[in-house]
Amino acid sequence: MRGVTPPVKPPVTAPSTSPAISLGIGLATGLAVGPATGPVATHCPYCALQCGMTIGADLSIAPRTDIPANAAGALCQKGWTAAELLTNGERLTTPLLYGRPASWERALDHVAARLSAIRAEHGPDAVAVFGGGGLTNEKAYQLGKLARVVLGTSQIDYNGRFCMSSAAAASIRAFGMDRGLPFPITDLAEADVVLLAGANVAETMPPFVRHLPAERLIVVDPRRTPTARPAWLHLQPAPGTDLALALGLLHLAVAEGLVDEPYVAERTAGFDEVRTSLASWWPERIERITGVPVPRMRQAVRALAAARRAVVLTGRGAEQHAKGTDTVTAYINLALALGLPGRHGSGYGCLTGQGNGQGGREHGQKADQLPGYRSIDDPAAREHVAAVWGVDPGDLPGAGRSAYELLDALGTPAGPRALLVFGSNPVVSAPRSAHVTGRLGALDLLVVADVVLSETAALAEVVFPVTQWAEETGTMTNLEGRVLLRRRAVAPPPDVRTDLEVVQGLAARFGHRFAADPREVFDELRRAGAGGPADYSGITYERIEEEKGVFWPCPAPGHPGTPRPFLDGFATPDGRARFVPVEHRPPAEETDDDYPVHLTTGRVLAHYQSGAQTRRIGPLAEAVPEPYVELHPDLAEQLGIVAGDLVRVRGRRGEEQVVARISDAIRRDTVFMPFHWEGANRLTNPALDPTSRMPEFKVCAVRVERVT
């Protein structure tokens, strides 16, 4: 195997649907048509919507119309310009060892030798792995196996901990299972009312907006975002008070007799305790905590209750808090009280963020989890997976540290001394990032596999240049739980390998034979996950192609997949959904005289996550070239700040200088910073949710002042 690049599979067949005929976009963008150079049907490299797109031989991009997420032929600017990722000049094309080009063999040998030495001296948990929610299912699976079988370490987690962990924990607690949307995205169009709590889809996944009901959209957000602006109703709570708001809505639902009592009796358990807990959360108290007027709350809950079909959705705005799990639980409680989950056209769902944010949380790159969305503490799960891996269940490590705790422990006496990073850029994306950068610096060995020299890769002793999106094939599970095939459309640059090949190369150096062919890995993943909650056993690449995606669970070859898993019952032992009483509490860091305003963070349309991709694309960098802080005109006036001023945003963990933008779309007591650049996360609070271990990205206290 050494020294030989594995044979590259030719691109799979021509696209099954011609692109965007309705819009004539193919022609307009110069798509070459012809059987020899036919465009390849694949998916977008970015968010969890995973819009269908084709890539022509000339790298022209066009939307597909056979994928429900963007069947209208939609793409946002990120999708349209994605091909620039394939050609921009900042691509890594050779392994780097101490910053200098090295051969693959030398780089892999070096890493293997260093890992062996560290393990020998400090034990297996001295080596850690950090994965990502953008990695394919095959990679997520293989990273978990690398950690548990080859390295024998419990220390593996991934950046999805910063995204989906709160919603996942709450869904599992309530429904026994976490599939982001437990219904096809197209069901949303049938809803009369959709409540969107803490999601700015008009910027983060624009084609999603086409699925929302035009009439009764309710948006909960401290900012009047492009999503909130056209909404029927916008509730604008203070950051960190979403949980209180949800309790207020539920209180009103009970007080006004809007609870679906037969549904609650038949399909749920635990409502009585929740009902009692609500007596402490009357609307006028909630108004004082959240700043949302009581009549607006009443309007929202009445609309939800009056709807024939209604959906409650949560996003990171509600979830990225030290009480994110309870906040989601409060929204699930509301949905359950109104009788929504498990009914055709209604329900609760979370909006997954990263491209494979759903699949990424199912296959074992999470600290407490084995493939198939199984718990690593479950003896039966350990036995099943160990059998597939051909190891003794007793040799599988137990649960390790969660993402922030892992990063925080790096280079400490009790923590890991080596870290392998795949598909993640924690220098930009982790909370209290300056501290995290310091921890990375304290490691004996940092290894990063990436497409470009990200801020994290720049710190690494060894950097592996890897293929990206359209240069490799793999499956992605989108926000609906629909397993999709993202196919290779173009040849990667020479001397660049896939993540799977990198893992294979490392495993081989420890005497383990790992597959690197995605299809082979997928087949193993199907076996390892069989019988688990996220059962992919019946899904094949062929089926995905034919059916334009298959919904998990799909436990057998003949099984049709499960678009709506909760119609007949929930995935709990007795089939009933669980109400869980939760209580609001203030943010982990409250404002005071020294730090008098809230900081909240989020995304802008032109950029994606840590910006490692989008900041390198001309039109996107041009659209939003630099980080900024958004503040209300009244606050700006008080601080003597005008638009364009350089301002200092100072918090307890660091400070940043950025340009001021003035907008009355934000509350007077709050400022906003996008997190696509190094900076915003130097300020954010790593206080963790006790259940999900989600950091409190969405609210901390800062002081803003003009730089004189």
Binding site: P207, V209, Q236, L278, A279, W282, E284, G291, P293, V294
Partner: protein, 464 residues
């Protein structure tokens, strides 16, 4: 440590749950005079109005005490505190030794000493509430004596049940502790439209079978009479035990009385000269006392008072010093009595020190939080009173839009680019989409693009 809590109302029950949340080991006993588990008194007005069902006001289920290992005795009023032996004695002969004692005895309804007052029902407890509701069933007309917060809520609630209501108030205007004269009058006018006739500046002299006789002899008819004449702190137990009592049981910033083993919280306590009659301060005090008792370090520094009326179709929030005039503060006022709207801001030293909002307004959340946090008041006062007033108008007409205006956010396409695409030959939305990608993201700019194309065609006389 043995903690005994006297009183299982809003303050006492809150303290008990806060203590248990902080410390699973402390031995806790709570003695309540009422025979039922604790309930939320704030919601009684809603129960009276039929907006909340009686079972929804319960704060803790009886089973909570078992699962949290708290001994609770309902219907057992305390008669005596023996500070020498650190023991309390209950009316039913129970002796409870304590290391720490918390008094949360609350307050009782004031019953005016007028003839026939026993015919009236005070509005204070859940039991009172049930009695009023039962009486309302067979009544034709109600009289509420007392036009403070609770009286107004009771009057509105009864009127909502279809009873004609007369609201009698001694002072010159309603809710005079929270409102200025004009707000009180506007409130009266709003209530009139909802079936509540308000009589201010009147004293009830006697309660008769057929109604209430006023001083001067006039009879106000009604076969249901409700008393909402205010409350007074229950302090007898503390006074008998020799603790310092003024209007309430005097406490320091740790909510301790002059006996360091005894705390007092809620409506029976007097902190820094103030006895609070609202739940928010009681719960803030409970949190501080619970922290101190469990070894934490917290101090209570007083509460900011926000009064929020709970009455259907009457939106009223009042906070702080609402009666200050221009001599002592900056006052911003808007009044539109025909619509039942009255808004007032009282600003001193650049901070909001008082406000009244009568009539529905989205400003209520912002103002309450500004008052609570004591932050600086923005220069744009009108924008505070009228949210959305200062928002820039949206130029959606294609003619008025500058060329640099972004039409398609998702694909970052300006009006200028659309014009250029049109000039290059595109004559419809699909054509513009093909050339510029406008409309291909979320799709919400489709109408705007269609409007632009139509306008451009019109300008040039080209059929669209």
């Amino acid at each position: 440590m043995r903690l005994v809590v006297v009183g299982n109302g809003m303050a006492g029950s809150r303290l008990v749950s806060e203590v248990r949340a902080r410390d699973p080991r402390i031995d806790v006993t709570v003695l309540g005079a009422e025979t039922c588990p604790p309930y939320n008194r704030v919601l009684l007005s809603n129960v009276l109005a039929g907006n909340t069902r009686p079972e929804q006001v319960r704060l803790l289920d009886p089973s909570w005490y078992g699962t949290h290992r708290v001994r609770a005795v309902f219907g057992s009023p305390v008669e005596l505190i023996d500070r020498d032996t650190r023991t309390v004695l209950t009316a039913d002969g129970r002796r409870e030794p304590y290391d720490v004692l918390v008094l949360a005895t609350g307050s009782e309804a004031v019953v005016p000493p007028i003839p026939g007052v026993e015919r009236a029902i005070p509005f204070r407890t859940l039991g009172d509430c049930r009695r009023i509701l039962a009486a309302a069933e067979r009544s034709r007309r109600a009289v509420v004596i007392g036009g403070g917060l609770l009286g107004v809520e009771a009057a509105r609630g009864l009127a909502g049940r279809g009873l004609p209501v007369t609201l009698l108030h001694l002072a010159g205007h309603l809710m005079e502790r929270q409102l200025d004269v004009e707000a009180g009058e506007v409130l009266g006018e709003t209530l009139a439209g909802l079936g509540v006739e308000t009589r201010t500046g009147v004293a009830a002299e006697a309660v008769l079978e057929e109604g209430v006789r006023l001083a001067g002899g006039e009879l106000v008819e009604g076969d249901l009479v409700v008393l909402a004449c205010g409350v007074r702190p229950v302090t007898g137990l503390a006074a008998d035990a020799g603790l310092e009592v003024r209007r309430g049981v005097v406490v320091d910033d740790e909510l301790r009385t002059d006996d360091p083993a005894i705390f007092a919280i809620g409506e029976c306590a007097e902190h820094d000269g103030t006895v609070y009659g609202l739940v928010a301060p009681a719960w803030e005090q409970a949190a501080v006392a619970a922290a101190v008792i469990t070894g934490g370090k917290l101090l209570y520094r007083g509460s900011r008072l926000v009064t929020r009326l709970k009455a259907t179709s009457v939106e009223l929030a009042a906070m702080g010093e609402t009666q200050l005039t221009e001599e002592h503060a900056e006052v911003v006022r808007f009044s539109h009595r025909a619509r039942g709207t009255y808004r007032k801001l009282v600003i001193r030293d650049g901070r909001l020190v008082g406000a009244i909002l009568l009539g529905e307004s989205d400003a209520v959340g912002t103002l309450t939080q500004l008052f609570d946090r004591g932050g600086p008041v923005p220069g744009d006062r009108a924008g505070l009173l009228f949210p959305g007033l200062s928002a820039a108008p949206v130029a959606d007409s294609p003619t008025l839009m500058p060329d640099a205006a972004k039409v398609c956010q998702c694909n970052n396409v300006t009006k200028g680019e659309i014009r250029a695409c049109w000039e290059a030959g595109a004559r419809d939305v699909p054509g513009i989409a093909a050339g510029t990608r406008a409309t291909t993201g979320c799709g919400s700019c489709r109408d705007a693009v269609a409007g632009l194309v139509g306008w451009l065609c019109e300008q040039e006389g080209v059929p669209a």
